[in-house]
């Protein structure tokens, strides 16, 4: 008979490398110089890719594209901490996860170029395809994690989502299942302050995304998402914890979407320049570069080499993408089920017959290429 206190909770924020490029030595992850350079190269690769993709979109060479500018450290930092046998379940802005994990860049171009073959990664690439429905992917990561444990694999599943996605029931259900089953999963929220035009404050009254884990009885932590070392370190620890059977972690990577939502968006409609400028000073790549230069790992020559390699890598990928033969209309039918059903076989047959009739007619008429189906 009282108003009795039951429990106390607290939330924390991790940062290691500050905006001036200074680090907290105590918290520094153990990375060799080679690894530091590799990490830097991944960031540069992603950055060059991203700028190219925006260009290709403007030229109509790929479709609608969602830039990850400003958020490079989030995907590169988390992916770099993983093991090969881990599985990733991206939302749609995780190009850096694909590329850091070794998915060929051409696949990423293909996907955004409107071609499903881009999502057909090699059988040892444990990268689930981009899926657009916001918040729907973390559940897959949780399920995969449960299967990993059931099959006694030393593997972790990682689910990505945005700040907007934390409003979707599915994301919250995923957190709950992760908690209840103590799944070997890491749930990674790229809190880039926006869901299209809506600022973070419109998504939730909670001060942090990290504290949402309290609702589900496990640990959440906010991390400076523009600090690749903090991201890497937090991820490494979360992965180790999961691998050790100690359950899930929610990482809130606090960052900022520097670009428009996608190429179909115009962010000047809903946000002001000043905020953008504040965040430009927190650029994750510049910050890391300052640090690497200060500790002597990065020299101007090495920097240039990395940049040149990235540029030519991206150019090769673009070329591969653009010289790829077009997908076949048969693909529409052939990947619906493991075996074509009689129904689909008939639809396919009729359609291909129609196509060849139309093409014959038009080529006999005009001598030109294939007609409109």
């Amino acid at each position: 008979m009282s108003l009795q206190k039951l429990t106390d909770f607290s939330t924390y924020k991790l940062s290691i490398l500050d905006e001036q490029g200074k680090v907290d030595e105590k918290l520094l992850p153990k990375l060799s110089n080679t690894q530091l350079v590799e990490l830097y190269s991944h960031l540069i690769n992603l950055h060059v890719f991203d700028e190219k993709a925006l260009k290709l979109q403007r030229q109509g060479r790929i479709g609608t594209y969602g830039s990850c500018a400003g958020q490079e450290a989030c995907t590169v930092g988390t992916a770099y901490a993983m093991e090969k046998q881990d599985w990733t379940f991206p939302a749609f802005r995780e190009h850096g996860v694909f590329m850091t994990r070794g998915v060929p860049m051409v696949n990423v171009f293909q996907y955004w170029g409107g071609d499903e073959r881009g999502s057909k990664v090699e059988s040892d690439m444990n990268c689930f395809p981009v899926a657009i429905p916001v918040g729907s992917q973390p559940l897959h990561a949780v399920g995969c994690a449960l299967a990993m444990r059931y099959l006694k694999k030393d593997a972790v599943a990682i689910g990505y989502f945005g700040d907007g996605a934390t409003s979707e029931g599915d994301t919250l259900e995923a957190m709950n299942f992760a908690g209840v089953f103590q799944a070997p999963v890491v749930l990674v929220c790229q809190n880039n302050q926006f869901a299209i035009s809506e600022p973070r404050s419109l998504q939730t009254r909670a001060e942090t995304i990290a504290q949402k884990a309290i609702a589900f009885g496990f640990e959440g932590i906010q991390v400076d998402g523009n600090d690749v070392l903090a991201v890497y370190q937090a991820m490494k620890q979360a992965l180790e914890k999961a691998r050790a059977g100690k359950g899930p972690t929610l990482l809130e990577l606090y960052t900022y979407r520097m670009g428009d939502h996608t190429t179909a968006d115009d962010s000047t409609r809903y946000r002001n320049k000043e905020e953008l400028e504040t965040w430009r000073k927190r650029d994750p790549i510049v910050r890391f570069k300052t640090y690497l230069t200060a500790i002597g790992v990065l020299t101007p020559a090495l920097e240039e080499k990395i940049m040149n390699e990235a540029v030519s890598k991206v150019e090769r990928a673009v070329q591969a993408y653009e010289t790829m033969p077009a997908p076949s209309p048969s693909d529409m039918f052939d990947y619906m089920y493991a075996q074509l059903t009689p129904e689909l076989a008939e639809q396919k047959k009729n359609f291909l017959a129609h196509l060849s009739r139309v093409n014959n007619a038009s080529s006999s008429k005009s001598g030109e290429g294939p007609g409109f189906p």
Partner: protein
Amino acid sequence: MKANMVQALNNALALELESNPKLVLLGEDVGVDGGVFRVTEGLQSKYGKDRVIDTPLAESAIIGTSIGMAAYGLHPVPEIQFSGFIYPGFDQLISHASRIRFRSRGRFSCPMTIRSPYGGGIKAPEHHSESTEALYIHTPGLKVVIPSNPTDAKGLLTSALREPDPVMFLEPLRVYRAFREEVPDEQYTIPLGRANVFQSGSDITIISWGAMFRQCVDAVKEIQEEEKLSIELIDLRSLSPIDWPAVHSSVQKTGRCVVVQEAPLTLGLASEIMARILEKNFLHLKAPVERVTGFDTIMPLFKLENYYLPSAERIKSSIRKVMQF
């Protein structure tokens, strides 16, 4: 005014916001941004943040809270950003919106208009191009409307905004900015449940709706010159309820029919139209009804999109097939 479909819809919403203080718009990005297709552009600054509400990113909550608003007497107009994202809120639609009047024997009701862009043809990413109107047509208690032009869009939306029951108002995004036409400035309604006989004819009936109706107009224009056919062309507009008298009287006259839908073949609305024609017009039919549809496949990403969508060529060959039967 000269208006494309986006502008006509925006105008319908503005006029109804003006005249009905119980009308409230809500959804993702509908406020400051004016909606990703700009259908709600300028409405928040004019009518206020309590009437044009940017919500968190959660379709079930958008529809679910709309149900609560409707029960209390408002007419909420939730926008779902693309029809492919309605499904998180499907349970609220099928288990509540469509049932509240029935469940409470009329004590409570759910007057709301769910707006959502719909259909393919603009090279959008996955989930942005599907045509799943059949799911809603099969659900008792919902009404379903799909306009094919700006003028209808304004009149039908105005009707929907005054309906005492939930309406799925699906907007073919391929038509959004496809063309402009003269649209009356004043408020007007086009009753739900009535088809538009766009052109009369005596040889064959073509039935369609939404973006595919535009496709039919093109195909019909070509083929009636090429083959001297007299074609009756019907735009259904309202898919639940459907104007069956318009369908039946046309088919009784022509005895031949082609139905064109963008949705997958199996159990798309064309199936129901064919079933009804068989039931009611068996002895009038001179040939089996043909349908031109999407396939029973996932709507592919845009490199293959044009193969999936019914083309004027496919429509024309079905017309020829029926005529030659």
